[in-house]
């Protein structure tokens, strides 16, 4: 059984693309449309990695990460922010929220798998 990844993005096309790519790479995948849905899912079960978009309705990515880091079971889980900008400002915010790393959109499927392999050795 492959590692279980939670994808959080409000864009259906990106969700599908990331899901398909990771499944092709042998991962088990669950998707959520916003931070709130992701948080609800995480409270029910554990995921090996969370990939989250930043800008989303209801709850944004950074708020989700802060919430997850407050949960004992997600203290060390790799959490990546998918973002369109890798500015210092964004990085500072990501770092303080507790994200493991960031990945800039757009990315291609091959890169995504490389990154996934790094964070889930």
């Amino acid at each position: 059984m492959g590692k279980h990844v939670l994808i959080v993005d409000d864009s259906a096309s990106i969700r599908q693309m990331v899901e398909h790519t990771l499944k092709t790479g042998g991962y088990q995948v669950t998707v959520a449309c916003d931070g709130q849905e992701a948080l609800d899912l995480c409270q029910k079960q554990h995921y090996d990695c969370v990939l989250t978009d930043q800008n989303m309705p209801r709850m944004d990515g950074l708020t989700l990460i802060k919430n997850l880091r407050g949960m004992a079971s997600y203290g060390r889980t790799p959490i990546l922010v998918l973002t369109t900008e890798a500015s210092d400002d964004m990085k500072a915010k990501g770092r303080s929220a507790g994200a493991t790393g960031w990945m800039v959109k757009p990315f291609n499927p091959e890169n995504l798998l490389q990154v996934a392999a790094k964070v889930m050795p």
């Binding site: 864009s11 096309s13 990106i14 800008n55 369109t84 990085k91 800039v104 757009p106 890169n111």
Partner: protein, 634 residues
């Protein structure tokens, strides 16, 4: 590893379309005095989502425009800039441009890069028009050259205490080739250290020489996408319009639930069938009743998946009305009613053109100029109400305006000019019907709004092709209402089975008022036509046996059954041998499988395998002779 991104394009197009629509609606509803921060956020998010997706899927033109848009919207939502009408108008034209580009990508056509550049420049000009704070110019400059530092800093780690620093640094160092890196524990050792040349990576891309998807300076990108285009257009040609539909999870869940019940019923039937000698007939009939219920519920559930709210069509009209009204120098308020009424997706898509035409007509011909309205003692602002509602098995869509009403005199004159048979004592309804004739336009001057050759005849034809009908009611200086009646769905009809000469026919249930064995005393025969007096009214009778050229069991209507039918044209009674029963039938096209049969709308296959014709009660009404007015009979 190769993953074909094309498979996600349809979803991307659809969601971008929705984002564009959302932005348009929010922008138009935006309170310029006190904009709702949540609205501004939603508009920003929509632009942001399009940008994100277009980057991944390689739709560079969309990405370029939405990127600058996003910067501008960011200023709005941060309160660094205040929205005004000019800005909203500008955004609306940008949205139109995004729609065109989206269509170009969707159709595999060439992208109009000049337009893209123009839009980007115009947006940047607004972005930089003196109001720019330092922050703004920084974003603007990064937007101007998004590729300058595109190849690095695309991925990185924040503090990762569990990792060894050495490995971390190593990975970070390899970022240039692999385009990812790790943050070291100390803030000052951010990847920028390892990737010195591009400290300000506000916008980064994975470099992949094989892909033509990164935003590059316009010319390169244009050339690259031109090179990539033949493939894409070929792929598109194979699937001209891979239609998708978005369905609420609750609908799918309920369907799954129903299928579960069906499986239970099936296993119950299996158990019963295993021992045919000791068949418990009572149990059998219970289970069969259950099966019938399951089937009906699944059918309804599946049909509902195809149903979407009419708001999908209606929501485009505020914009249409806004644009047209300002072009025609009229003041028009559009009111939408019943926008959550659900209708078959196929029907909704085909409604767009006729409805657009009717709304344009209402603004162009219906609503008067403010001066003329004032003279007539009306408020200067005219009102158009676009409404939808469900009535039985039909959907009613109406467009009413409080304008001048149809001009009887002008329609009559135009009809005479076109050589149509008209007389001065024609009832209004028949006069209004004339505007559905081909080549009929009474516009005093052909504007670029209406009167462009697409006439009301096309509107009516479109509606009729959907199995619907359109009616007009109008009153001079009070206004006009166009009412469209459409079937809820095209595939299944609730019908009453009737038998004549040993054959079964189906009458759509919606047209039936009641069925009866007529008392002999109520039957009259006058000038060769049979009449039935019932419900305070004389109903002309039509013998189905004669229409279908078969032999009725009895020629005496008193020994037969009369089904009272109501159509848009008239009411009449259909004489049949007997009633078979009520059932839902699946409509199969006769033309496709056999040939057109007058009086039949289609055919269906009955439970016993026989074929039954579904009667077209509207066209049967044409055969019926008009009832003679009551006074003459009495």
């Amino acid at each position: 590893m190769s993953i074909d991104l094309n498979q996600f394009h349809a979803v991307f197009f659809e969601e971008s379309q929705e984002h564009i629509d959302t932005m348009e609606q929010l922008l138009m509803a935006l309170d310029l005095e006190e904009p709702d921060p949540e609205d501004l956020n939603s508009i920003f998010r929509a632009a942001h989502s399009i940008k994100g997706g277009s980057g991944i899927f390689g739709f560079t033109a969309l990405g370029k425009i939405t990127h600058v848009m996003e910067n501008l919207l960011d200023q709005l939502r941060n309160g660094e800039r205040h929205p005004d009408t000019a800005l909203v108008d500008h955004f609306l034209t940008v949205l139109d441009c995004l729609r065109r580009i989206l269509d170009q990508y969707r159709g595999g056509e060439d992208i109009d890069w000049d337009e893209v550049e123009e839009q980007v420049k115009a947006l940047e000009a607004i972005l930089n028009d003196g109001k720019s704070t330092p922050r703004t110019s920084a974003t603007a400059s990064s937007s101007a050259e998004p590729d300058a530092n595109a190849d690095n800093d695309a991925f990185g780690f924040f503090d990762a205490p569990e990792e060894e620093p050495a490995e971390t640094a190593d990975s970070s160092g390899s970022g240039d080739s692999e385009n990812w890196g790790l943050f070291e524990p100390e803030p000052q050792a951010e990847p920028s250290g390892a990737e010195a040349p591009d400290t300000e990576a506000a916008f980064g891309f994975f470099e992949d020489p094989a892909s033509a998807t990164e935003p590059q300076p316009a010319k390169t990108a244009s050339a690259a996408s031109a090179a990539a285009r033949p493939d894409r257009s070929k792929a598109k040609a194979a699937t001209p319009e891979s239609a998708t539909i978005r369905v609420g999870v609750d609908k799918v869940d309920s369907l799954i639930n129903l299928v579960g019940e069906l499986v239970i019923t099936q296993s119950m039937l299996k158990v019963l069938g295993e021992d045919p000698d000791n068949l418990d007939t009572l149990k059998m009939s219970t289970v069969l009743a259950e099966l019938e219920r399951n089937t009906r519920e699944i059918q309804e559930s599946v049909m509902s998946i195809r149903m979407i709210p009419v708001s999908f069509v209606f929501n485009r009209f505020p914009r249409v009305v806004r644009d047209l009204a300002s072009k025609m120098e009229k003041q028009v308020e559009l009111v939408l009613e019943g926008t959550q009424t659900e209708l078959d997706k196929g029907l909704i898509e085909k409604l767009v053109d006729p409805l657009t035409h009717l709304v344009r007509n209402s603004i162009d011909h219906g609503i008067e100029s403010p001066e003329r309205r004032r003279e007539a003692g009306k408020p200067e602002k005219g009102t158009i109400i676009l409404g939808a509602s469900q009535r039985g098995g039909s959907i009613i869509i109406s467009i009413s305006d409080d304008g001048a009403g149809l001009n009887r005199g002008r329609i009559m004159a135009k009809a005479r000019e076109n050589g149509l048979p008209v007389s001065d004592d024609m009832p209004d309804a028949e006069v209004w019907d004339l505007i559905f004739q081909p080549g009929f336009s009474t516009a005093e001057q052909v504007t670029d709004v209406s009167g462009r050759g697409v006439g009301m005849d096309v509107v009516r034809r479109n509606i009729q092709q959907l199995g619907g009908r359109i009616e007009i009611s109008s009153q001079a200086s009070v206004g006009s209402t166009f009412t469209i009646q459409l079937p809820l769905t095209l595939a299944i009809v609730d019908g009453m089975g009737v038998a004549v000469g040993g054959q079964t026919f189906i009458i759509p249930l919606v047209s039936i008022i009641e069925s009866m064995q007529p008392p002999r005393a109520n039957l009259k025969r006058l000038a060769g036509s049979d009449l039935l007096h019932v419900r305070e009214e004389y109903w002309p009778l039509l013998r189905l046996a004669e229409v279908m050229e078969t032999q009725a069991r009895s020629s005496d209507p008193a020994e037969a059954i009369v089904v009272l039918i109501e159509t848009s044209k008239r009411r009449y009674g259909l004489v049949v041998d007997e009633l078979v029963g009520q059932q839902q039938v699946v409509i199969k096209s006769l033309e496709q499988h056999y040939k057109r049969v007058p009086g039949a709308a289609g055919a269906t296959i009955m439970g016993d395998g026989s074929v039954a014709l579904i009667l077209d009660v509207e066209s049967l009404a044409d055969i019926v002779r008009d009832p003679i007015v009551e006074e003459e009979i009495v």
